[in-house]
Subunit: 254 residues, 2 copies
């Protein structure tokens, strides 16, 4: 029983290219080469190919298969166990991925049909991560590793109630701020109320509050284009106004 590449290929259900490749990487050499340079495979090669394909179907890479099959001392069970661990890890990653994709889908397609709760569950981790990526480095430099880590940790541990609270606080603050801006006086009662709400909002993220840090953050809202853009989105000048209000609120300015 002798086979040329094509014969063996169709027998085993692989392509001729695959067999040439296996020859090339030395995992399956033909029994001999005939006078015309054709690869000729025998029964032993058929069996070896079966083994190779068996392992391949288990997702083992060719390099490992080669090791398993060439050195008989090689512990194939151990190899498979390691392989299994890799597969389990891969599945864990995949599950996480699927979960995130599903969260993203329902968040965008369901628009407002999602309850706050679901939103919170799905996104709080993501929010922390995105925040880290965007501002992590600079904030860390300014406020130190510890403060930021604690802030993140605190946020992650926030309960559903906390989340709703914090969301509402920010909304209220922005409302007050917008109203106060119309008056134009950062020392006005409304503006000071906004500053106070901002402090309350902040304490949900920071483990400890200090007037200095609060004032520093307010200044950053103006200095950093990104924060500035966020606050100035509705009305230009909001960032500066909020800063002034906070500076007065914290006593850094009168």
């Amino acid at each position: 029983m002798e086979y040329t590449v094509q014969k063996l290929a169709s027998l085993a259900g692989v392509s001729a290219r695959t067999l040439r490749y296996y020859d090339e990487i030395g995992i399956l050499k033909p029994a001999r080469i005939n006078s015309s340079g054709y690869r000729i495979y025998g029964q032993r090669e058929v069996d070896r190919l079966q083994q190779i394909l068996f392992y391949r179907e288990l997702g083992v890479n060719l390099e490992t298969i080669k090791e398993i099959m060439t050195s008989p001392s090689y512990d194939s069970t151990k190899a498979l166990q390691e392989h299994r661990v890799q597969l389990l890890e891969k599945r864990k990653q995949l599950d996480l991925l699927i979960k995130n994709v599903e969260k993203t889908i329902s968040a965008t397609e369901g628009r407002m049909t999602m309850s706050n709760k679901e939103k919170f569950e799905g996104f709080k981790k993501q929010m922390v991560e995105e925040n880290e990526k965007k501002y992590g480095k600079e904030i860390r430099e300014k406020y130190g590793e510890d403060t930021v880590n604690k802030s993140n940790a605190k946020f992650m541990d926030m309960s559903q109630k906390d989340y709703e609270m914090v969301t509402q606080l920010e909304a209220q603050m922005r409302e007050n701020l917008a109203e106060a801006l119309k008056i134009g006086d950062p020392s006005s009662e409304l503006a000071q109320k906004a500053a106070d709400l901002h402090k309350q909002w902040l304490t949900y993220y920071w483990t400890e509050y200090s007037k200095e840090a609060h004032a520093g953050l307010a200044q950053m809202y103006v200095d950093d284009e990104r924060f500035k853009a966020y606050y100035d989105k509705e009305q230009p000048g909001t960032a500066e106004f909020l800063r002034d209000a906070i500076l007065i609120y914290t006593g850094a300015k009168k």
Copy 2:
């Protein structure tokens, strides 16, 4: 806020090479190139990169991300849903893989600790597949597609009881055969009993039995090196002896 490659890279937690690559494939071009040829990124690019990385973390490939982000008409939700289906399919495959790997491990390491039941559950599909690969083409040519397909289907549908029965039948047959071989007469009662057991065994795989097919198979046991090797493993000459016994049993020979 302007960034060079390295700056943006460390800000976003990717490598400079990645940014150059994203430039190359046109997914993220720098805001401008300065007089020295340096890539300069602005705020808009930072935000765009965030988006890219967000999708990348969901496992979406760059080509798709590009489509999602460049054409605003592109339905990103639909893209994510398709992506989700792919991920689910991938997980299904992965689960199957893990199951097979685990079966293989326990089969080889636990040797005989596995019960027949477990063996059966784990391997009957694999057996059919391997059998297909090894002999499928030739058997199909000799006995026709239909017979083989039905045989496979029947095997796959075999119950636990059937499996035990068929396993026992083969064991009994081989025992009888070995005994009969000692006597050396294929027409002996023992040898004919073996042939009968062989027929019974065969009927578990074939949907219909005929003496001619049975005799043909017996002849193949001798002509085909692989079947021959299987039967001659314990005692050389077993394949021929079985063939002769079956030929007599089926009346093809006296």
